[in-house]
Symmetry: C2
Subunit: 486 residues, 2 copies
């Protein structure tokens, strides 16, 4: 049964909510008096369409229908969920919530995106306070899963249950906060960091760039996968959480932050933390948690490497400096070593060995390096020429495991006109053959996306290597089809 | 020329430093009176060996030599870098630093891992204060790049320059802090969050698990790629940083955190922040920053999906619920739809289309789904049987782009004894054929890693589908080799 959400206030947050609902198959009614609302929403939606469905490896629901309503009444009358994302002023919120409740269904969830107000403040004077809860999301709402759900003492249990069920179905992470407090949980941390950051800038200690780097090259990466307490549990090492608190407890009285109002670290509080931490993470040993943390960090940092951003850009720079230190002379009379690498921990699959698609990733890197050698490098590609792979044949001859040192050689079987025929061999450092990849590539014009002749320099370099490699024995397995007898 | 680092104090942090140096080809001398030091260091090293080299896509240096020194003098006498990571007590640090300086080279860098002490405090009474600086790393030191480098007024410029050059070569991110302050920069944020967290637990607002979830499902993922200020610049939308500060400035006086000591938000401070933010991020428009942020978030969340952890585990749960809602009946008389997905933004490469290795990733998912259909599912695999791909042939017939909706069908060409021969076809949602994948798989015993017969149920289900699919036309392209005429 098709469901409908009403989005009241269509800024960055309201627009993000609209996208989250629409791309999960809900119909969405938007109410926003801003004459620019349509344009703004369409920009958020465009961002969401390009990024959100690809988070899934299954077919996500067909997009719902988007309607810009003339009035709040029109927007909310048939809605199962009403999300209020108007400016952060309590008088405005009260007016809007009253208008919503005058026209919406009695069993609709009314969620407020408020960053700071407590539900009891929002519910003041409401015709039915049981229906109104805080549902505080994080930007970009269409990608980040967290929603803080706070009902306070007046919200109905059914409203909370209804809300968390719906948020689950949207792929979000409802975090139900049982006791209301200003700014809920996450924004209290953000606000503390913000205030500390303002001091550092005010006092000339650091710039915005330096503060951001202090976050994204260090604890920021950790916090994307484990939070504060699980991270410290691991850092505490074998002795765990109590040891950690004992070690860093005394700093509570030191001027390590401007936040000098601290609770007393009584035995009772230490025990409370340690036992909550046991309940949270106790199913894993510290060693297991270390490996989980490291696998997560490697996977995320390698993901950022693909985007050439932050810690990932730093890794690319490190690699290119190692490459720059390699001897420039290449012996073109034998297969060329195009790749050498240790297998990343995140390349291993449920069979306990390197996943098959990573072999092609490795061969793709070998092809990229070969292209670079013949002059089809980043500059050449920026000028509109490149090679596309048309056909590939891979043989998996032996298993490969995480951290194994490997190298890959490339033999050019032919390189004439628009075609380039390569044969890669991937070896373990001990010299045993792990896999072979045979590839046919076609030179293309990136503007027309059609086959085209390579530039003169590339053609000449390719031909030179192809001529020399023609003297090499044809690799075993060349021209093989799948299921051909051995 | 081989370089040597002396690691004074071999706990979690010292051990991490040792691993970082060793795996970058440095020799390492360790000094630690703890009788357990060797075991502890070897555990950190084992973690580092499995994770660090795989961050690189090039061949990293051969590991250096590790020596456990009897005395500090022996450890430091030939060292180019001395890293002090002893307990956080100033008197202990002074004693150790004096002993280091009595025996080390005059041009060695002496870095301290101190979380909180200012360099001027460490340098008090030193024979040569110019040599001693803070080099504060983040756990795990072998993976996380950030090092806060603080010299204070007494350190020599050469020491700082020497240190940053070496840290660069180790793949780290030296952040030089020009004005010393207690706890440097990052730990001030961590300490503020820690103190705020203690209050939330003390007051019964949240548990350690809830606090960690509030971090890792929300702003933690953002902070792994952009820090506080760049994130807020984007959130401010078209009007940028000044708008954002104007919007959230008033909350500075609200009780949103226990940190109530805040600088006055004067016009001067607002301008300072806005102009620093322009210098940091002004080369990108807000729209560009949004896309960069979203691409990073998708890549990292998909990376966590591969690890089935945190936000990634949530995405897997979302997918499995969509799968569970699909009709259970499969028509085995025609090719089976095994995958349907939108192409993730991070699957696109420098040619502006889906990278070739992602086709195999998609076909690998199709094979996994087919295995599941014949009963070779997670339980079966946990019991020791699985299929390994032996050979693959891929044809790239048309380009695929980010966010394109696609589906993949699987035809079983044969399935008898230990062999399974599959043919996948990947289509655009409009029905056009994008690529084909022909695969030969072998059933294996996961204990012996050798070919073996599948279990009875799997064999029977496979045979049933193979028999029905034998009536289908053989797909065009079956049995093709690379560079076979068309």
């Amino acid at each position: 049964m098709k469901k409908t959400a009403a989005i009241i206030g269509g800024g960055v947050i309201g627009g993000g909510w609209a996208a989250r609902f629409l791309l999960n198959g809900w119909d969405v009614n938007i109410s926003d008096p801003d004459p620019e609302a349509k344009r703004k929403i369409s920009e958020v939606l465009a961002n969401a369409r390009r990024s959100l469905p690809g988070l899934s490896d299954v077919e996500t629901p067909a997009e719902g229908k988007l309607v810009f309503a003339e009035t709040i009444a029109e927007a909310v009358h048939n809605a199962d969920w009403v999300q209020e994302s108007v400016p952060e002023r309590l008088d405005i919120k009260h007016t809007i919530l009253a208008e919503i409740q005058a026209h919406c269904r009695a069993n609709a969830v009314i969620g407020s995106s408020t960053s700071g107000f407590k539900p009891s403040e929002l519910q003041q004077g409401a015709s039915d306070p049981r229906q109104i809860i805080v549902c505080h999301p994080f930007n970009p709402v269409y990608l980040l899963p967290l929603v803080e759900v706070v009902g306070g003492e007046n919200a109905a249990l059914e409203t909370i249950e209804n809300a968390t069920g719906i948020l689950d179905s949207l792929g979000m992470k409802p975090l139900v906060i049982k006791k209301e407090i200003d700014a809920h949980i996450a924004d209290r941390f953000l606000e503390a960091v913000w205030r500390e950051g303002l001091w550092l800038i005010n006092d000339g200690i650091a710039t915005t760039q330096e503060i951001d780097d202090a976050i994204r090259f260090g604890f920021g990466i950790r916090w994307a996968q484990m939070g504060l307490f699980e991270t410290y549990r691991v850092a505490g090492g074998e002795a765990g959480m109590e040891h950690f608190i004992a070690q860093f407890g005394p700093c509570l009285s030191w001027p390590w932050t401007k936040l000098m109002d601290v609770p007393e670290l009584t035995d009772e509080l230490v025990k409370k933390i340690a036992s909550q931490s046991d309940a949270q993470s106790g199913r894993h040993s510290i060693r297991e948690l270390e490996r989980i943390r490291d696998d997560n960090l490697v996977a995320m940092m390698r993901a950022l490497k693909g985007q050439n951003w932050g810690a990932g850009a730093l890794l690319n720079k490190y690699d290119s400096e190692i490459k720059a230190a390699e001897p420039a002379e290449i012996d073109n009379a034998k297969p060329i070593q195009t790749v050498a690498r240790s297998i990343p921990v995140d390349w291993v699959d449920y069979n306990g060995h390197m996943n098959e698609s990573r072999y092609l990733q490795n061969f793709c890197d070998a092809t990229d390096r070969f292209m670079e050698i013949i002059g089809c490098d980043a500059d050449y590609i920026a000028n509109g020429g490149s090679y596309f792979t048309a056909e590939t044949h891979i043989r998996h001859l032996s298993e490969t495991h995480s951290a194994a040192r490997t190298y890959t050689t490339t033999q050019c079987l032919s390189g004439e006109g628009k075609k380039m025929h390569l044969f890669h061999r991937m070896f373990h450092a001990d010299g045993s053959l792990l896999a072979t990849g045979e590839h046919m590539l076609i030179h293309v014009d990136l503007a027309t996306r059609k086959a085209s002749s390579p530039g003169t320099v590339v053609a000449r370099k390719l031909e030179k290597i192809a001529t020399l490699h023609a003297f090499l024995p044809t690799p075993e397995g060349t021209g093989r089809a799948v299921e051909q007898g051995r």
